[in-house]
Point group: C2
């Protein structure tokens, strides 16, 4: 019989969850953690499945948790209750809300990003090259969801998309924005073959980002926090634009710059 309640910090599932905070364990097991009502709801609604759902009803913040748990359980997911002490141990948050799932990762490829049924006739992608901070990647996902991109391509990853801080900062949009991890070379080729223009932001560009026609098949490429986009991508860019900087700092936070470019595309395509 399987165990449906955990009261001990020594339980193997507690240990498994703590290990899943490390990328090595996530890479090996192809599992990851989803914490929080909103995040788990968004994953479920987007068709993701869960191996195990851990709950602690004393910590629930709302009144809809039971309905969600029932729906998830009816799909065959094992639901385990925990005591408060155990949930605080497995939680990644300051104020846990009593829901945490272990879920299988999904592995999409570039070709999964093509959607011929889609209404839009102008493909719209974002390429994030070697972003280091999970919070930035999560925030980029959140903005990508908001403007309705066709996909996020993470090239030459530094942080993996299943890092708990990516899931958290994305507030669950990781589950709705099609996200692919790919090598830089294959991504460049894939975009070029499809006639998708690559847009890069650089202080050296002649035109500001609001002055360039973005109503075309487009991939916005952004690079690391420290160094920006690599030379390889910069050279392959079909469009270079500048974000005005009127102060002492020479650049914006990468997620800010990305959000500005994403919304400029939206503004021009209205």
């Amino acid at each position: 019989m399987t165990e449906n309640h955990i009261s001990s910090l020594q339980n193997p599932i507690v240990k498994q969850i703590l290990h899943l905070r490390d990328r090595r364990e996530r890479d090996k097991s192809k599992l990851f953690l989803i914490e929080g009502y909103r995040e788990i709801l968004r994953a479920f609604d987007a068709g993701w499945t869960f191996d195990t759902l851990l709950i602690c009803s004393q910590l629930f913040l709302g009144s809809n948790e039971d309905a969600l748990i029932q729906k998830i359980a009816s799909c065959g997911t094992k639901v385990i209750t925990t005591v408060d002490k155990v949930f605080h141990k497995i939680s990644y948050r300051d104020r846990p809300d009593g829901l945490l799932a272990i879920a299988p990762q999904r592995t999409l490829t570039l070709n999964d990003l093509e959607n011929p049924a889609k209404e839009s006739i102008l493909p719209f992608y974002i390429v994030a090259e070697a972003i280091e901070k999970p919070g930035n990647l999560g925030t980029i996902l959140r903005s990508s969801d908001a403007v309705g991109v066709d996909g996020l391509i993470v090239c030459d990853r530094c942080t993996d998309i299943y890092n708990p801080n990516v899931v958290r900062a994305s507030v669950g949009t990781l589950f709705t924005v099609p996200t692919v991890e790919a090598q830089g070379e294959e991504t460049l080729l894939w975009l070029k073959e499809r006639g998708i223009a690559i847009l890069a932001a650089t202080p050296q560009a002649k035109h500001e980002f609001t002055q360039v026609d973005l109503v075309r098949p487009l991939a916005i490429a952004v690079g690391t926090e420290q160094l920006g986009l690599s030379e390889r991508w910069m050279q392959q860019a079909d469009l270079q634009v500048r974000i005005p900087m009127k102060g002492v700092a020479d650049s914006l936070n990468v997620a800010m710059a990305t959000t500005l470019l994403l919304y400029e595309v939206l503004r021009q395509r209205r």
Copy 2:
């Protein structure tokens, strides 16, 4: 004789620095910490003074550190060398770069934000109400610097502007953007008396943020991560705008939303 080298973790200055990570100690002593070459350089260039500068030359990343240290020392700041072990203890970073200063806080008031000599005839402020996360406040400062606002007004503060994570996320723009902490009521009054329009973003607004005329004396008001702008500010807003949300999430990260609004003002005022 004053001590100019620290090799022990038990040194009182080490303890003082660790205490300054806590708001209570910062509020009491009116001191704060500035870490990093770039941040200290920006503070110095903007005319800030330091009580003490701690350095660890083994950790320097560039070749300009000595010149900066000499300039700072020539203003009467005490310079203390430390061993690697001590610097790692006092540093707030994963990869410290060997420079950390203790500096007096500055307290500006709303009236310090007025600058009659300024070329701009259109005042441009940002009001950040009750922002909780230091990283968000720092990033808002970074974007505020980039668009050249006349000042940031932090109302009913939750995080204080001298939190080490604000300094870090602002990459030193805290020292160039005039920043004031004030009560909500007095700020509202101050803005209204000067005929400065208050702009608020809300999903209920009729017009998108790119469709409203922002070429006027303006204060952008943004609220907490969880709840947005308070009812008080929303009711007093002269302009309400909507940021389009085409995905599953109902809001952007507060720093993203702020950056979009700031740059839309810049675009319209070009």
